[in-house]
Structures are given as C-alpha cells and as structure tokens.
C-alpha cells in the first residue's frame, strides 16, 4: 500500500470572508483582508474609513465579513479604533482585537494626524494600511503613497508624479511603537505569521501591506500576485519588521535582486517612462535597500 500523502496547510483554514464582495477582479486589498482575518480570528472589530474597502464588504444591509465593522469617516481610522478599544474595555471586553483598516490615502495623507496621535499614546490597536498607491475609491487620484513616475488622473502623463513616495514606515518608527511590519499579498505565510505575532503584543502595531490594484495600475488582474511578488523580490517593497522603533529584521533576505524594469513594464501606469526614468527608479530602490541593510 502506498503511504498517504498528507498536505499540510500553511495558513489557518478558517474563512471569515465570504465570496460575493464588491471588489474588482484581481484586487490585492481583498486578499490582504482575507489573510489578516485568518491570522486574527473572529474576535476582531474592524474600523474602516472611506476607501475601496468601504464598498468592498457590500452595501447595507450586507457584509462579506464575519467580523463586525464600524464604517468611519475618512480621516478617523485610528481615532475610531481608539474609541472602540476604550468602549469595549469599559464594557468588560478586554480580549477583542481592534483593527483600523485604511487605504494609503487614509493613512499617508488625511488620517496621518489621528494615526500619529494614537501611536504616540501607544493605544492598543492594530493599524493596517493596505497600499494600492493612490486614491482608488474616487477614481485613481495621486496620494503621497503614489510612487515616482506613476500616472494617475491628477498626475497625468505630461506631468507624472515627480516626487518619491512618503516613507510611512520611517514615520511610524519615529513614534517608537512596539511593532511595525511590512507585508505583501504575495507572501501570505509571512503576513499571517507577523499578524499573529502582532496580535500577542500590546500597544500600537502598524502594518504596511502592499496591495496591487489592477484597475488603478492598469495591469492585468491575473498579474496582481505576480506584481506583488516581483516588488518583494526586487526590493521595491521589501518584507521586514521593526520592533520598538529600533530593531529591524528583514524577513526575506534577497541574495539577488531582480531588476525593477520587469515590474514596471507590466503596468500601464508607468508606460510613459523612458529607460532613463526606470534607471532612476532602480537607483532609488538600490539606495533604499542599502539603507535597510545598514539599519539591521
């Protein structure tokens, strides 16, 4: 008799997100939510401001998630989560994990004041920014997370984004919160592992999650995971964590970095870029990677 071949699941089997959500095909933000909930489990409250995810979970009275959601104002993800945590604790629930779940616009731009306030107080919340590098809900306008060179409806080809992406992780590290991690929808095991680690820590925990958006990036829906993986492999979006604002650990060491051009060329939002532009992006990525290696 042949020996039974057993497949071991590397991710929790529990599904807290049902199909039937309203996201576009190939939406990275949906994968991110699914993996996060696998890690955190059902005893989680989500605070979701205006962003694609304000729509994705479904219109009233539906929701595709088995966890409760408070839909909050655009700039209030952090302050809403702070209030929920305090409210739950005062009514006897000290166990539930409270998550602020916001896009890059809600985090890097309009919500940064509330986020900084919560982080400075070290409020006991997990803040997750799923980064699709623009305001997608309102139709692809630039945010301060939009990378150099990208087209959006407010950075048209004739005047594409000429400033680099804001370094949100450095800003959060400067708050010396207990835990910060980057994660990518292409690396769910790493994402779930770090989210579980974060769940056990008290205080403000911050996740910066790379979430490709075929609609806004003008890429193929079936390339979303591939793009996310390439961004990790070429150090465009490296996977690392920072504890107490100081201790940096790279989760995926790269022996050899792939060229960024492969990643850039798969996306319509970068179509107008010349070889020289791409070389400049490569230089910037190399410099950031060198800085990261030095900080470990």
């Amino acid at each position: 008799m042949k020996k039974d071949k057993k497949m071991t699941l590397t991710l929790p089997a529990e599904e807290l997100m049902s199909p039937g959500h309203l996201a576009c095909q190939g939406c990275g933000a949906t994968l991110a939510m699914r993996y996060m909930l696998k890690a955190l489990g059902q005893r989680t409250v989500l605070c979701i401001p205006a962003c694609c995810w304000a729509v994705i979970d479904g219109p009233y009275p539906y929701s595709c998630l088995d966890a409760p959601i408070y839909h909050c104002a655009f700039e209030t993800a952090a302050s809403t989560a702070t209030g929920v945590k305090a409210g739950l604790e005062m009514t006897g629930d000290t166990e539930t994990t409270v998550v602020a779940w916001a896009g890059d616009g809600g985090t890097f731009d309009i919500g940064i004041q509330a986020l900084s306030g919560a982080a400075e107080r070290n409020d006991d919340i997990i803040y997750v920014c799923y980064d699709n590098e623009a305001y997608m809900n309102t139709g692809i306008q630039r945010s301060s997370a939009t990378p150099y060179g990208a087209w959006t409806t407010t950075t048209p080809v004739k005047h594409f984004k000429d400033r680099p992406k804001k370094d949100i992780v450095a800003i959060m590290a400067a708050h010396r919160i207990p835990y910060i991690a980057t994660a990518s929808v292409s690396h769910p095991e790493d994402f779930v592992k770090k989210m579980k680690k974060a769940k056990a820590i008290k205080g403000t925990r911050f996740f910066h999650v790379f979430a490709p958006c075929p609609t806004g990036w003008k890429s193929r829906p079936d390339d979303s995971v591939k793009l996310a993986r390439l961004a990790v492999q070429n150090a465009y979006f490296p996977l690392f964590e920072i504890e107490d604002g100081e201790k940096v650990t790279i989760n995926l060491k790269l022996k050899e970095k792939k060229p960024v051009a492969d990643y850039i060329r798969l996306q319509g939002r970068f179509r107008h870029l010349s070889e020289a532009h791409i070389a400049a992006i490569q230089d910037e990525v190399d410099a950031r990677w060198a800085r990261l290696l030095k900080s470990c």
Binding site: Q42, R43, T44, V45, C47, A54, V55, D57, G58, P59, Y60, P61, Y62, S63, L65, D66, A67, P68, I69, Y70, H71, C72, A73, E75, T76, A78, S79, T80, A81, T82, G83, V84, A86, G87, L88, E89, M90, T91, D93, T96, Q113, A114, S116, G117, E120, R121, D123
Partner: protein, 384 residues
C-alpha cells in the same frame, strides 16, 4: 451637598455623576477646566472612565462615537473652533445614532481671535441632528448633563449642553451636587440594543443607497419629534427626585405680560432682572427663556407667545444675509397662529460684549414705541 463651583466644573460633575465611561477630549479656552477636572477625577479613580488625550477635537468626537457604538457612555467638551472642527463628526454621531453628550462653551468664532461668548458656534451646528440645551446657571449645567444622557439614550440621539464663555464657564455659583445613588436611580447604565461586538457582528454605517437612506433620516426626525415630551417628562421626574424642574423653556412672569422677551443662555437670566426693573416702572414685561432649541418646542412657544401682546427676540448670534437665528425660529413657529403678536428681532452682545439689564430696557423702549417691527434687525449696542 452644596459646593461653590465654576460653570466648567458643573459640566465635569455632571459627567462624573452620569458615570461617563470614555472621555476623549482636547483643550480649548474657555473649556479647559472641564477636561482638567475630569482627567483629575479619572487619575484619582473618583471616576471609573478612560480619559483619552486625543490630538484634536475631530478625533475626540470620532473616539466618542466609536466608544458609544461599542456600548460605553461617552462625554467630551469643546468650544467654538473645536466644535467647528468636529462638524463632520457631529453628523456622524446623530446619523449613526450614538447618544454622545458634549459640553460646548459658547465662544465667538475667529477671526479675529475671540475667546468671549456668542452663540454662532453652536447655532452653526443646529442642523446636525443634535439636541441643544442652553443653560443660564451652573446648577442647570450640571442637571442638564444628567438629563441629556437620560433623553439621549432613550432616543439614541446625541445632545449638547451649552453655556456662555466666562459669563457662566468661569463664574462661580452655589451648586447642589446630587447624591450618586439618586442619580443612579434616575439614570440607569447605558445598554444599547445593538452594539459593536464580535458576539453579534454587524456592519455599521456601510454604503447606503437611495432605497434605504431616506428612511434612516425619517426615523431620526421621528425620534427627534418624541424628544419634547420626553424632555418635559424627564424634567418632571427630575423635579420629584431633586426638586428642580428641567423643562423645554423657562417662563418668568409671562402670564400677563404686555411685552415678552425671548432670550437664551445667561442673557436669559439677565432678562429676568430686567423684567423686575421694568415692572417697578409699571411696564408689564415677561421673559421666555429658550432652554431647548433642538428639538424646537413648537407647542410651548405657540402657547406662551400666542397670549403675548408683543414679543422681543434677543439674539446673541446672526445668520449673515438673514437675521437673528432665534428670531427666525420664533417667527416660523408663529406662522399661521391666529392673533400672533408682533415679533421684534434684536441682535446684541456679539463677541462677548456685555448684555446688561439696561440692554433689555433699551429693547423694551424700542418695542413698546412701535406697533410692529419695521426692520428685520435692530442692533443694540453696536458702534456705527
């Protein structure tokens, strides 16, 4: 127990006796003592609450709202610029049906920077779906906080307790501090029907299309319409327990008045003094102090003003391009009322300029000299 306290501390005591559980707050003159005392009470465990030192009023209200959604009783206080910064979240609190209670110190809006009283800050938020209680004494401030929770939580509608900058916020008065067990008997713990919890997961406030939104707002208005009776009812219950009546309005010698002032806030107290001085001179004056402005007490105003010979509405506010806001409201309430009296509108005291008994005497002299109003705004005390 009687204590001599400032109006701001009357708000703090009101929140403490109501057993507020989450207090996110941000300082602004002239509100600071409200939150300083509350933070002291939380630190010394006189009050079992979480005091959250948020980085702005916008966040203060956001945290109040979500803590309330999670089932906690919440309190905050602010003034002028802070209230304006909260504007978006004021709609959120009422639209989401979270009975937050907020103390607002009436302060004039900048520019130029003013820390002195007028009502344009709170009246700019008139249409946000909050109840508004305007107070004329420190005792009323404390009592109103307790009543605001009682009515607000019954209807799931937020409420503002409003007092004048300095004229009340920093003025010390004797205040009866009710006993905690009596307040507990009047105000049971907050237990909302639906709350934010993984035990019973719901999505609050998601995308709401034209097929549902309208009904949500209809229900808010229908519940707001229940508020006047509930305010009167809880006001009587309060009187039975504490000996002080908390009604929709405060009537002073209205019954036989030839001239009725319509007033609010601390000016509403000054008006009573003026009524007595005028009566000494043989002029039958009276004063209707508007305590509750939202919900607007239509029936009460029609009943009392319907019997008056003349009414003089005194506004410490203005709607630019229209006229005094109380004046608009009173006139609209009297529309279609047979034998409604002529109603005069006066604007005075903006930016904290004093309103004294003489101000009311000047108003009385003006109103009594005319058969009816011949201008929309009569300015009192302005330098031209």
């Amino acid at each position: 127990m009687k204590k001599v306290i400032m109006g701001n501390h009357a708000l703090s005591y009101g929140a403490m006796l109501s057993r507020a559980q989450v207090i996110p707050a941000y300082p602004i003159t002239p509100q600071t003592q409200v939150v300083e005392l509350l933070s002291e009470m939380c630190a010394s465990k006189t009050l079992d609450a979480k005091f959250i030192k948020v980085e702005s009023e916008h966040s203060a209200m956001a945290s109040c709202i979500s803590a309330s959604a999670a089932g906690a009783r919440t309190f905050t206080a602010t003034s002028a610029q802070g209230l304006a910064l909260m504007h978006e979240m004021l709609h959120w609190a009422s639209g989401g049906r979270h009975p937050v209670v907020l103390g607002n110190i009436n302060r004039a809006m900048a520019p130029g920077w003013s820390i002195w009283t007028d009502q344009n800050d709170s009246l700019s938020e008139r249409d946000t779906g909050w109840m508004q209680f305007y107070c004329s004494s420190n005792q009323e401030v404390l009592d109103s906080v307790i009543q605001a929770y009682k009515v607000g939580e019954a209807l799931m509608i937020p409420a503002m307790v409003i007092l004048d900058a300095f004229a009340l916020s920093h003025t010390y008065e004797v205040v009866e501090i009710p006993e905690q067990d009596k307040v507990d008997a009047f105000l049971p713990p907050f237990k909302p029907e639906i709350r934010l919890t993984p035990d019973d997961p719901h999505a609050f406030g998601g995308l709401t299309g034209p097929e549902h939104y309208f009904e949500l707002r209809y229900k808010l208005q229908k519940d707001m319409e229940k508020a006047p009776a509930l305010i009167e009812g809880t006001g009587l219950e309060f009187e039975r327990l504490f000996g002080r009546r908390l009604g929709l309005v405060d009537e002073y010698k209205c019954g036989d008045a030839d001239l009725l002032f319509v007033s609010s806030g601390t000016a509403g107290y000054t008006a009573n003094v003026a009524v007595d001085l005028l009566r000494d001179e043989g002029i039958k004056a009276g004063n209707l102090r508007m305590r509750v402005v939202r919900p607007f007490p239509f029936e009460t105003v029609r009943r009392i003003l319907g019997k008056a010979k003349k009414a003089a509405v005194v506004d410490r506010n203005i709607s630019y391009g229209h006229h005094g806001i109380f004046y608009q409201e009173v006139k609209s309430a009297l529309y279609g009322v047979k034998k409604a009296p002529p109603v005069f509108g006066y604007i005075t005291g903006l930016g904290g300029r004093d309103i004294t008994p003489d101000t009311f005497k000047e108003i009385a002299a003006h109103a009594l000299a005319k058969d009816g109003p011949d201008e929309e705004i009569v300015w009192i005390g302005v330098k031209r």
